[in-house]
Subunit: 348 residues, 2 copies
Amino acid sequence: MTKTFSSLLAIGCLVSGTALAQDDLRTMALDMFAPIPSTTPSFENNPVTPEKIELGKALFFDPRMSASGVFSCNSCHNLATGGDDNMPTSIGHGWQKGPRNSPTVLNAVFNSAQFWDGRAPDLAAQAKGPVQAGVEMANTPENVLKTLNSMPQYVEWFQSAFPEEANPVTFDNFAKAIEAFEATLITPAPFDAWLNGNDDALTDLQKTGLQVFVDAGCAACHAGINVGGQDYYPFGLIEKPGADILPEGDKGRYAVTATADDEYVFRAGPLRNIAVTAPYFHSGAVWDLRTAVEIMATSQLGADLTSEEIDAIVAFLQSLTGEVPEVVYPILPPETASTPHPSGVVIE
Amino acid sequence: MTKTFSSLLAIGCLVSGTALAQDDLRTMALDMFAPIPSTTPSFENNPVTPEKIELGKALFFDPRMSASGVFSCNSCHNLATGGDDNMPTSIGHGWQKGPRNSPTVLNAVFNSAQFWDGRAPDLAAQAKGPVQAGVEMANTPENVLKTLNSMPQYVEWFQSAFPEEANPVTFDNFAKAIEAFEATLITPAPFDAWLNGNDDALTDLQKTGLQVFVDAGCAACHAGINVGGQDYYPFGLIEKPGADILPEGDKGRYAVTATADDEYVFRAGPLRNIAVTAPYFHSGAVWDLRTAVEIMATSQLGADLTSEEIDAIVAFLQSLTGEVPEVVYPILPPETASTPHPSGVVIE
């Protein structure tokens, strides 16, 4: 393997040497990846309007959507810190620890499905999960609606966001508004500028890293707009990592499909903003990006990459760190006498 | 009392009837209160610069300032919900409950001292408290500095904010930067527009409420720019409320001064944005503003206000709800290999 990659490195260095070689690399890359679009993604069943985005932003940042009043969507998918929370697994209601690492909300709209096991087909379905999960926000749809209906400002915002509906304050629309806001959370990166034709947007080392990434086989699973997030693969295809990284109790997609083939199968992580979303893997057990790349090479590809090759891949991955759109912190509707009080009580 | 206040109501109604009466009311009001200034307040020992404000904003929103990575300043002083957290007392590290209601950070710069017992002379001193409190953020100055120093972007921001210091990353400067950001969190309200000469900024009922507020004696304690927050008074001056509202275990300012006279003495609550910062009192035991006004009238003034008088005061208090300045949500520096990992471990 080392020999092959040494020659790849040589190719990689050549890439930056000639315009033709760079064009070849770009043509190959565009065959596997795609740049982030310049406009907000759309949904067939959920038109994205400015009113819906504003409502969704309010809901995303509102801790009153949790039973305790402590957690909002933004608590675990913090837009200030890469769209995730910098923890192995999140802390939720009653100081419980979640089962899996919180994935970034940035560019999540480009994943083919949501959650590490893909159990939610889209962002709206995803948004209904954590709100109700006992270890996360521990709320109920009924209490969410009671909370929203208690604040006239929220009712008005729902009316503006869903103008054709007689009773727009529903849990489905709650989720659709959040989906609309999250569709705006896309982060164009140097890699996109390079895919779009700017030769100088990547460094030579990053271009070499891209070549190694593709030739080593990483792109077989980590492809598409999100450089991952498109399909499911066994963690440990070639060599199963230790239980510290792949805990035995979490069988991944098996919980969704109940198919033996899906034991320890997880969605290939989307790699956009990966350099700013440590710790890594569904277990959140690995803090260092370089180590994560090494583990992937061994467990998924059986590849014994050189230190230089790993460095180049890490450099390429850093070119996926994008610009987070400017978000004005919302001013939320004030509570009224009928707003349910927060309850930090943990039901055992 | 009722008779007196009925005549006051009559005066109040007159107030709106003639320009002269209104001018008299304004002259009287300007003798007790002051409008929010049009510029950011300054500090003798802490010049407020754009760089310091930006750094302070980042620190204010950064959950990595807490040991667990769960709580930022904004968790309990949420700018989206009136600068507080809508809970009787906050939930902190390890799901512990705090001892007192979280006061709003909005306009806190105008309080003569910070905390319900005034134990911090200024916002910088205040900012050092919750970070270290075991029931709140449970961190140490050492770990805060280790965290900040691990991120080159933060070190640069400290250098820009404190350009004359050789080693600007200190816990004192951490607090000073937060103080500078908090100085920008001032909220001009209809009451200010009226104090500044706009006759139409208050409704007739609000003007009547102001007159009742002053004549009943509320303004004896709730005065100044913040309509409170200036001095300390026994809770239950005339009639002590029940232990549900005034818990016996919390002796207020006595803990600061160890003077018997200071038992159950608290800072008069600043009333700006009071309509959007329920629940009320240091115990957070009362959810309804009208009820809170009734309790104050009885316990502090021995006044038996009519229902109309209470209504008028509540209407006046609503004129203190101001416009929160637009805050762009910060993008925080990414962690590095040397950033301390979050620890949700609770030390018993």
